[in-house]
Symmetry: C2
Subunit: 402 residues, 2 copies
Amino acid sequence: MGLIVQKYGGTSVRDAERVMNVANRIVEAYDAGNNVVVAVSAQGDTTDNLIEKAMEINSNASKREMDVLLSTGEQISISLLAMAIEKIGRPVISLTGWQAGFKTDAAYSNARIDRIDTERLQNEIDKRRIVIVAGFQGINKYGDITTLGRGGSDTSAVALAAALNADICEIYTDVDGVYTADPRIVKNAKKLDDISYDEMLELASLGANVLHNRSVEMAKKYHVKLAVKSSLNKVEGTLVKEVNKVEKMLVRGVTRDNDVARISLCGVEDTPGKAFTVFSLISKENIGVDLILQSIGNNGKKDISFTVKESDLDRVIEILEENKEIINAQEIKFAKDVSKVSIVGAGMVNNAGVATKMFEALYNAHININMIATSEIKISVLVPRKDAERAVVAIHDKFMLA
Amino acid sequence: MGLIVQKYGGTSVRDAERVMNVANRIVEAYDAGNNVVVAVSAQGDTTDNLIEKAMEINSNASKREMDVLLSTGEQISISLLAMAIEKIGRPVISLTGWQAGFKTDAAYSNARIDRIDTERLQNEIDKRRIVIVAGFQGINKYGDITTLGRGGSDTSAVALAAALNADICEIYTDVDGVYTADPRIVKNAKKLDDISYDEMLELASLGANVLHNRSVEMAKKYHVKLAVKSSLNKVEGTLVKEVNKVEKMLVRGVTRDNDVARISLCGVEDTPGKAFTVFSLISKENIGVDLILQSIGNNGKKDISFTVKESDLDRVIEILEENKEIINAQEIKFAKDVSKVSIVGAGMVNNAGVATKMFEALYNAHININMIATSEIKISVLVPRKDAERAVVAIHDKFMLA
């Protein structure tokens, strides 16, 4: 008998039929003798519908009131899921974020979990009840409802697993697990049986769309064993855990990210601290800068290129315009028709041949590389968006990941 | 400068436009220098839609989980209304039932308010914020969400007014106020400027459908001055308050209630306690018995007739069937095609002529009276349902209420 934390996303509970399916799966784990705590998201389109309701009234509503509104989505899910389990005839109780003891900071719409007061949770578990917890939400020190922002329900689940010292945290989603590449792009992409936290972190931030980074970071920090599984079938998923053995496969996966735009500041004065000035202006607005390329100075001038999320581009252009005297560039260029393609693998840092092999794959496919960035466990290249899918396939084939 | 508590029902906030209207009305009171606390119901069909969602999954869900589900309806309303007030540009904050300090007993789906811990409310008022509170809901000693049952939002508003010692509690609804009769039946029905708590209680319980009884009882107990107003126009409503002056008008209103069924136990043994036995069987199931008529015994047998809500009839018949040996009646008869028509007025107890005048009106209209019941401030008669509207008009005319 162990303690299992499960997490089900919005598509997994989008209608009555899916809710009953999820209920059956939870009861299966419970009937096998486990204690089960479940974090659940809002049903299907609920959150979007609520946002639409708000927009009709005030497109600039405070984040506090948006959180009061949006948190109802998960509250609806938990009660319906609890009712489904009641129907099967097992003891169950639903808890909202504040009932489950999720204490967060005060950053409405993007709060961080400070701690979970587990007294109520533990009481319910001790009564051998299945506990259904609203993901994505908590309460701050003012007694106000907060939401955790994107990927919040994954984070809720991992936080529950950490606080309750669970044996495993199972994240149920609409894919079977973590693949070597997006199966929609690469036909022979292969599911990974396991992957390390660091590799998963890189994959998540590179657009693998399976687990949100915050949840993986937290899992790593608190040594929570994660399993990514499909809520639609019984296929074994992917385990995310500390992997210590030497990996047979250097490269674990190939990803593509289209939410990227490139900005080039051409003919900037080549004085110390110029790049710092630019990036500090941008980071002040909480906008993340990703790949950065700085040309070698020439006649006292240099070029600085970098990428941001495409959705941040307009704001970045504004910032650069507002500060053009300080930046003093000859020309500012930007491009949206680019994608970031990356390979990830814990082993690659010790193997110089990996980068060469990646570039060779792209060269053979006649794909131009705009920018390159490397870290300990990943190599990213910026390529024209029209070539991005071909690039993923070419790299996947080259490394024979399938 | 005073403190006003306002209450808006579901139809008053059913869409974005109505929410903006309500927001404007609240701001008007606020800008006049008042502190304003608002209790609001779930939007239009929200509650019905939520119930439907539950029914698809489990038609026999626990009341606890139903309350978790249904309480989201008001939480949606409060956030949207707060956003509308933010848009107008006034300081505002929304509070759920538990945030507003509504402490209730543990009777899920029909909880009673034990007290309101007003600390948070008072803090927000002191900051000159408009406070929007979710009606219909609270929290019990286990930290679980409860709902107050039918008419709950009215009760929430009156409880707020009592706890905060408000100058007035304004109940906004879709009618202008309290009328001498239902304006849909009696064309020349007249709006009352004021009415006493007791008269309002009788009118409410007799089907006037303006205010729920629980809220009027609470208003009477805590001396809360109530105003019933329309949320759709600016017409002066009806004040409900302690009326001490001798009333000019003996009869304040005529009401009709179709949710009534008559049951007759014919040929019951005329022994002491027989009626008590019957009614205790029924009251054990929490079913209210209204008019009671007991014939004078004859040959050791008597007839007992009484009325219940039509919706309770099937259950009452079951109870009588299950206990027919104990009751030992020669025949049990029941009728659904009846209505209760009543006149209400604080002055009538001292004036014997009122009843005579009422019966005369019905006699002249050729309407048969089945049963009669009187209290200090009302006289009710049971008439055939087909004649009920004519009865209301005839009585209204006779007393020249218009």
